[in-house]
Symmetry: C2
Subunit: 182 residues, 2 copies
Amino acid sequence: MSDRGFVVWFTGLSGAGKTTIADAIEPLLRERGITKLEKLDGDVVRTHLSKGLGFSKEDRDTNIRRIGWVAEVLTRNGVCVLASAISPYREIRDEVKASIGNFVEVHVHCSIEELTRRDVKGLYEKAIKGEIKNFTGVSDPYEEPVNPDIYVDSEKEELADSVAKVMARLEELGYVPARTPA
Amino acid sequence: MSDRGFVVWFTGLSGAGKTTIADAIEPLLRERGITKLEKLDGDVVRTHLSKGLGFSKEDRDTNIRRIGWVAEVLTRNGVCVLASAISPYREIRDEVKASIGNFVEVHVHCSIEELTRRDVKGLYEKAIKGEIKNFTGVSDPYEEPVNPDIYVDSEKEELADSVAKVMARLEELGYVPARTPA
């Protein structure tokens, strides 16, 4: 393990399960001895760093760059970061990835049909009716990762499977120590 | 030493020497084994987190709150922060202090007469002529700390003296291990 931290960056549509997976991963990482650990949630960061920004491409890019900058400062001080943000634009994700280095991109996929069916917060219905503008996947683009480090599908997989997949890959990449046999 | 980091917050007028002192302190802290260390400079942070913000009270407060939030996230992960920002309003400094806890306020004092005489960047002359608006100490308020943890005066003290004063107080407060005798 290096002295640097790393970033696990969850990208995907609203409601796909980014934060749910990050929340489930957190205690597992702590159990492996990763105690310097911070979750950066896109919505939470907006209230602290990006109040006043909207959902135009420019404002979204600014928001993602800010999350990226905070993640960078944290990782260079040995902190691990679980970042969850729709982060719809490939170019900005790649820019953040390049500036951080120790960056694991997780694409949390779920079809728009399934998200519309779930619609936990009622946002998709409103977006489809046009009551919310610039809604990613409905009236705003989402550029899927071409070659993410990890791909999970919350429509076809159980949460436990997605979590196991992420943990296994983080081990494989050398970011997380393997579980010691009992 | 606790597992938490701490923040040394340098407040004072533009040109008073906040960043100069922080830059001088940094290697001394590293020498004492404090390796998780990040400098947050008000001007640098503006480019990353606060592009578009101006110098109204509201925008200044927002900028300071953002620096404070990043400092808080860092300290709770064991990182020490040297923050330099004019931070002219007492209420916001106190708010940031309260949210962080391990917070050492350093008032870097220098008289406006001396700053105008030095005027390294030519900003005071422009401010006095009215070419720069909302310039702290000239056309915008600076609320001096009532009871700072450390007071240094860059007009009357040598840099080495100010630095020694800060280090001694950080030792006294238990944030920095005492130098081991040779």
